[in-house]
Symmetry: C2
Subunit: 325 residues, 2 copies
């Protein structure tokens, strides 16, 4: 299996789409071997422009991603798309990626699309997503679009780990308030008012601009622009693509790109550590001794906090056993 | 401080609302002393009926909670309400609770309302919420309503930790699909179609019922009913309150109540363990040595996974130091 992973990694470096797809699927499944398979790729990353896209359901994120992809392709850039779709077992996930796939880029070799769903377990999604970004960067994609749906902490972590972050809002959807609640406002580089043909687009744009001006900023700091688009008709997206690239240039000129990459690496190390810790906790949870402890705590009216303190020693021992694997 | 907590706990057991409010605020702030202050309360819990309420923004959850509270009060039951509101620093949180407070129960001694917001940090929200449930149970509330907003994993964990779970949907909002995506469908005991005066309420009800019948269930298993309400006019909520109590009776008759309480204790132990682990990881993150490691990994093109493996030993040592605190 280890040898298979090495050969997959080699093929990824040669730009092999099928190998990349296979590796990402294994990452999605949480395969430890696939995670180890990434080790050889990191020294070949750092060239792609990672662009995060978020927005409420129905805001037209996927259509926008497809339209932006068209723009970058016309500039001769290759594009990778990762659609993060935290879904229950019931719907089975992978909806967004399929939607994009249908929108005209399915026959284009320069576009590589994968969706990532967690199958019931939220842990590991950020780790898998960052692994998928590594794969797409290493295989030579110039731009990697990372599309997130929900407003949970994990999605927010993935979103803000991009070099450039886009938030898509639409007129009349009350998105502006939703955004603030999710803590997204503070980390957005570019606002997109999509479905700009709808009533209220200009008011929404003006409102966002007011809000952004009101936020305290340092001199020379990037002031997030608000761009009007009608992605379904490819209107405004060419200008948006220009602003996205402009943000990258701004980051490169100010040293911001190294800062973003450091933040991303930081998150990736911590997500890997969380993965190892999660495995160790899982070992505790699935042990019959834990069921017995729970029953005992409940019966005696003992404190869950004290029970947890007792488990700390078990966890530390589990981790010590894992440290060399 | 420890003595203060003991006295707060004693006052909570005597039903003192101000002491309870103070303890919950300290829990919200993540105070270790407040967590320890709960220790004495657990042997006095297990009497309250814990009811989880979730639904999309605008579904009328808070109005429904207020109307349900009125129903329980008329039955002579005391009610506690915990509104979970994960909010960014920008909006400041605590919106829902205030909204409920204004809806007529503010002068009623039998109703105790607290909202919980995490200030920027999602970790610890579930632990604080379960702690607040413990406080309200121990102070003698007959029914504790726990209202969650978002569809993130933490909110889902809190929601499903209730004895009885209510999902609020509204006609024409596309909520049904949203629900499935969040993995909520599988854990809902009662569906509420609120704003039932709107067009499409009957179709939504029929659609939900079809979906529920299609899901495989064991014989004798609870089939989630779908209840129409117009909470703003107190219409249908009296019947809903009856179904909520009926579900508790069902649980009591089938032994399900012990199962739910075990699941809740299980979660509470694990959330406390996660809190201790989070503190230990935080110690690593805020150490200058970690910044140096991140820079080194990035510069050398090393693997974040390998860096994480190196940190496991540090984490295990940190935990061993904490195990007796």
């Amino acid at each position: 299996l280890e040898r298979l992973m090495l050969s997959l990694a080699e093929k990824v470096l040669a730009g092999d789409t099928r190998a990349a797809a296979r590796l990402i699927t294994l990452l999605e499944d949480g395969s430890p071997e696939a995670l180890a398979g990434l080790d050889a790729l990191y020294s070949h990353t750092g060239k792609a422009h990672i662009v995060g896209i978020t927005g409420a359901a129905g805001s037209g994120k996927s259509t926008l991603a497809a339209s932006l992809t068209g723009c970058f392709r016309r500039q001769g850039k290759s594009v990778g798309i990762i659609a993060i779709d935290p879904t229950s077992a019931l719907t089975g996930g992978a909806i967004l990626g399929d939607r994009i796939r249908m929108q005209g880029h399915s026959c284009d070799d320069g576009v590589f699309i994968r969706s990532l769903a967690t199958r019931g377990w939220a842990g590991g999604l950020a780790r898998a997503a960052l692994g998928a970004v590594c794969v797409m960067d290493a295989m030579g994609k110039d731009v990697v679009l990372v599309e997130t749906v929900g407003s949970g902490q994990v999605e927010l972590d993935i979103f803000r780990a991009a070099d450039t972050t886009l938030a898509v809002v639409t007129p009349g959807a009350g998105d502006d308030i939703q955004m603030m609640k999710a803590g997204i406002l503070e980390v957005v580089d570019i606002f997109v008012v999509n479905k700009a043909d709808k009533e209220g687009a200009d008011i929404l744009k003006a409102g966002l601009e007011d809000m952004l001006r009101a936020a305290e900023r340092h001199k020379d700091e990037w002031l997030p622009p608000v761009i009007l688009t009608e992605a379904v008709a490819d209107r405004g997206t060419e200008a948006l693509a220009g602003v996205v690239t402009g943000h990258r240039d701004y980051l490169a000129a100010t040293g911001g790109i190294e800062h973003r990459r450091r933040e991303r690496t930081r998150l990736e190390i911590l997500e890997n550590l969380a993965g190892i810790t999660g495995d160790a906790v899982n070992e505790i949870k699935t042990n019959a001794a834990f069921d017995k402890m729970v029953a005992g705590v409940l019966e005696s009216g003992a404190s869950p906090r004290r029970a947890a303190a007792e488990l700390v020693a078990v966890l530390a021992a589990n981790l010590s056993r894992r440290k060399n694997s």
